[in-house]
């Protein structure tokens, strides 16, 4: 016995057209179609030119804006057209990690900007086991260290080799106008680890401090007017040899 066509809702018919109707419903509609031409008319009234639907949206992809520079230490904020007065919707990408998105008029003031260790930790948390699988040739890495030394005003070309850490690259970054050098390593356990160095606010040395930042093991200390942060992996023990080697070096031991 065929179900009468009026039994089917438009939602049933759409599921049928979309090939997402349960098998039984599908069969019932097939059977009803053979009996009742009005059902075919209803289906026609729900039909869409699917190629055009997809084609229009696919063509739109070509005009997508370029992906923004998401490096958290990107330099000066790029002012953008304010779309909605009072909103921070159009705030430059660079300011993004420092300010809460959508803090507008009448809402709480933005939280204080995070310190350099928090920003580094947030950046480091984006590194995965595959981020540093390849390294530039040794000559290039040596050149990177020389360039970083010049930018930082501290000779780091003779940084010691730390047990369990394989040197992959050195980069000169910028933290709110201050040079920040990141020396990236891959640990024996496959974790990306970074030694970051930035000029300290004052000349006073600081004891080594171990903590967890963004879920990553970290140690930090100040020596010789520079602040150091070694961060990466989840195991604080695994950072110990690196911390010892770099801290000794930084204190001129």
């Amino acid at each position: 016995m065929t179900r009468p066509a009026q039994d089917f809702t438009d939602a049933d018919l759409v599921a049928y057209l979309d090939g997402q109707a349960p098998e039984e419903l599908h069969k019932e509609i097939d059977a009803a179609l053979a009996d009742d031409p009005s059902l075919a008319e209803r289906l026609a009234g729900l039909s869409l030119p699917m190629d055009a639907v997809r084609g229009g949206w696919d063509a739109l992809l070509d005009s997508a804006p370029p992906a923004p520079d998401l490096s958290p230490v990107a330099t000066a904020p790029r002012p953008r057209r304010r779309l909605w007065a009072g909103g921070a919707f159009a705030t430059g990408i660079a300011a993004g990690l420092a300010v809460a998105v959508f803090t507008g008029l009448g809402t709480a003031p933005p939280p204080p900007a995070p310190g350099w260790k928090a920003v580094v930790a947030s950046y480091q948390s984006l590194y995965g086991p595959n981020t540093l699988t390849s390294a530039p040739a040794e000559a290039e890495r040596t050149a990177q260290l020389a360039q970083a030394s010049a930018a930082l005003g501290l000779d780091i070309t003779d940084l010691p080799q730390a047990q369990g850490l394989d040197f992959r690259r050195a980069q000169v970054l910028d933290f709110r106008g201050k040079t920040l050098v990141q020396i990236a390593y891959q640990s024996d356990a496959g974790a990306p680890v970074a030694l970051c160095i930035i000029a300290a606010a004052g000349p006073a040395p600081k004891e080594m401090q171990a903590e967890t930042l963004e879920g990553l093991a970290a140690t930090s200390w100040n020596a010789g007017g520079f602040a150091y942060l070694l961060i990466g992996g989840e195991d604080p023990e695994a950072l110990a040899p690196g911390t010892a080697a770099f801290e000794d070096w930084s204190r001129g031991a």
Partner: protein, 160 residues
């Protein structure tokens, strides 16, 4: 996460067009959504679809923005612009139709527009679209039915 964002940026932007119905708002929304994604990168569960996770972030970001401003869109309060396709495409019959359909879809109420976009453009199953939008499957189906009727009637009216 940065790589994930870069890989899906164009599609995320397109989803923002579907969310907001406007290109210029999509430009701003995609930027805000990328920032939110970076902030929340630790919450991303590896093994799940990055693109769908990003879509959800864009969605939440958009809803928060709307809520904050207590502005209602899609109810005829805001002038809708045509979402023009990139120029340089030949005006073939196919392209003209695609452009018409695109503009009709962007003029649908937001709930229908998003559902149509996810199912017919992104190819989500009803169940996936329901999960993405946090609505029952029946609602997905009824939104599609309403949208199909509207679009079908509009296209019928423009036929020579």
């Amino acid at each position: 996460m940065r790589q994930g964002i870069a890989a899906h940026h164009a599609r995320l932007w397109r989803y923002c067009v579907a969310l907001t119905g406007r290109r210029d708002w999509a430009d701003d929304l995609v930027q805000a959504a990328c920032l939110r994604a970076l902030e929340k990168a630790a919450q991303y569960q590896s093994g799940t679809h990055v693109d769908r996770w990003l879509f959800r972030i864009a969605q939440t970001t958009w809803l928060n923005e709307l809520r904050r401003r207590k502005v209602r869109f899609g109810g005829g309060l805001v002038a809708v612009e045509d979402v023009d396709l990139p120029s340089g495409q030949p005006d073939t019959e196919t392209n003209i139709l695609a452009r018409q359909v695109l503009n009709h879809i962007t003029r649908l109420p937001e709930a229908q527009r998003l559902t149509v976009f996810l199912v017919y453009v992104e190819g989500f199953s009803y169940a996936d679209a329901a999960a993405q939008l946090d609505i029952p499957i029946g609602t997905v189906m009824s939104r599609l039915a309403t949208a199909r009727r509207t679009l079908n009637a509009k296209l019928e009216g423009t036929k020579p």
